[in-house]
Symmetry: C2
């Protein structure tokens, strides 16, 4: 092993799964040696990884995906990929230099060699916690921002419902909606999460696991009906929401986490409501909105600095605890944005 | 009975139904006497009805409708209401005069007294068949036009699928799509209807009842996938279409006729595709688009006069045959727009 070479601790994806991911679907290795200097002539970048993001979509990538899709499955035997924040330790790219911080798709490993650094975002503002670029200032933040402002086309005073509302995206959708003067209710799966939502300024919040009749629960919180539903869960919740939509309502489909691990997705029965109420239901994928990132940042950074938006993180220390953190997210045990610290800066 | 009074033959709605409507859910009466002169001071209009439209939504009105809705159920014991064409025989309204022809919501009866004539459309162009104002130049025509052009936002060369394609709306959506330079496939429930679709210029057509695997059928006709789905049927067809949508596809929900008579609607399982493919699915109701009527007429009348659009009608003679014509429509036995002649002009 040459002087500039180190063993690179990595989290490896074992093989395609069915059902809920388990820790044993991943394993740690230090078999790979990595040089901390780029090969001569490379225009890639070499990263020291700091924070890794645990995201619901990652369980989709652990399965075989049928048909053409915006998602590409992980390769068995390869390192898990995901969003993260890293420090540049060597660069062959003209716009990125050693010492810069970046965020984007990196490996679940101590060091990543990225051959397409154009896909990374350079971090220009370091007066806020760097971990925020896995959340409020990264993909979940942009997702919440464009999903709410572009797809939901909200108006002041509208009635907004957010499911999985304490998660990385949901907690922001609710706060964006409050900043716009909407009435906002969130659902979550534990009392602790419900309490958190109220602290974050949601008008109301409820634990969906304690409601036998979701339709009745929604009618209680939305006697006038729902203008905007920010959909993160799918299945029974969507069916109940459909019964409570108002005329010209909008449903932005960000995810359907309750469906990812079912053999067969649940059937949604109340789609006739889309017709009766002239509702628009639209799926969106944040990748399509990367050009909105500067506008988003200019809008959200002042809110963070002025304390008008709070972001709650659930932080696990150590790459070796990555697999358990990921499984924790899939089981809904995290409170707030789940992330893993690989190294402090 | 005074000189100006006549017995008014009417089709009466018996009582709320479940399941498929039967002829016996309606009955004929001539109990009501109607004056052929308006009462003094009335600003309504008195109509001699000519053509009545049989429309799929009418079976929804025969049931109790739960919750707030754009639809209002029929009242048991009252006359069936629907779209139709009529001649004005007396008028108290400044903009409508005796001898004018109008179309809009009228009763299933020989004569209708309309107290809100503002809701009627005056017929300015009588060089085309008057019956067309129950179809291509009436609500189904406007539905097809705004549903396709406004909700589906089509582009030249896109791949368009229309279900219930030989119906009052579907046959026009297909022809509008062809006029825009799209590739169009329609589905219908008999070989006769399939043959009709090909005559109307659809690129392909198939009998859904002869396809065991709708997903496979759609993959055969749309190897590249579907950009636009004009939804008239719902249920299994929608589930199969979802699997075949292309990125940024659009689904306009005009109706879900396969679901109207089920105790429980079928569950639609493939909604995750809306997310994967960033598809927009939107319900629309033609009433919201009445301001588009003049633009629509200016666009479609020349096509009719130049023979660039064909409109197929399935005409039944006599109000007393109205109930059987309506049931025929609900059973899918009509070929083309189903209508009833009450009186020739």
């Amino acid at each position: 092993m040459a002087e500039e070479e180190v063993k690179n601790k990595q989290v490896i994806f074992r093989d395609y799964i069915t059902g809920l991911p388990k820790e044993s679907d991943m394993h740690m290795t230090t078999d790979k040696i990595i040089s901390l200097k780029l090969p001569k002539g490379s225009n890639g970048v070499l990263l020291k990884n700091l924070y890794l993001s645990c995201d619901p979509y990652m369980q989709i990538l652990m399965k075989t995906i049928e048909g053409p899709s915006v998602f590409t499955s992980y390769t068995p035997g390869s390192v898990i990929m995901g969003n993260g924040v890293a420090k540049v330790i060597d660069s062959g790219h003209p716009n990125i230099k050693k010492g810069d911080f970046v965020w984007g798709t990196i490996g679940w490993e101590e060091y990543s060699l990225i051959t397409t650094p154009e896909a990374l975002f350079k971090i220009d503002h370091t007066d806020v916690p760097l971990s925020y670029y896995t959340g409020i200032l990264g993909t979940p933040g942009l997702t919440a921002y464009v999903g709410f402002h572009e797809v939901c086309t909200p108006k002041k005073g509208e009635y907004v419902f957010v499911s999985a509302a304490s998660g990385a995206v949901g907690q922001l959708v609710g706060q964006f909606a409050k900043l716009m003067g909407c009435y906002v209710v969130g659902s979550a799966g534990t009392q602790e999460k419900v309490d958190l939502l109220k602290k974050l300024g949601f008008d109301e919040a409820f634990n969906y696991k304690e409601e036998h009749d979701l339709d009745a629960a929604l009618k209680r919180y939305f006697p006038q009906g729902i203008d905007i539903y920010f959909e993160n869960v799918g299945g029974k919740m969507l069916d109940a929401v459909l019964l409570n939509m108002r005329n010209y309502g909008r449903i932005a489909i960000c995810g359907m986490v309750s469906q990812y691990n079912l053999e067969q997705p649940e059937g949604v029965k109340n789609l006739m409501q889309l017709l009766y109420k002239r509702v628009r239901m639209e799926g969106f994928v944040v990748f399509d909105y990367h050009p909105h990132y500067s506008k988003f940042l200019a809008s959200v950074l002042p809110y963070i600095r002025e304390g008008k938006i709070t972001y709650v993180e659930d932080i696990v220390e150590g790459l070796e605890n990555g697999p358990s953190a990921l499984v924790r997210l899939f089981k809904g045990r995290n409170v707030g944005k789940q992330l893993v610290v690989v190294a402090h800066e």
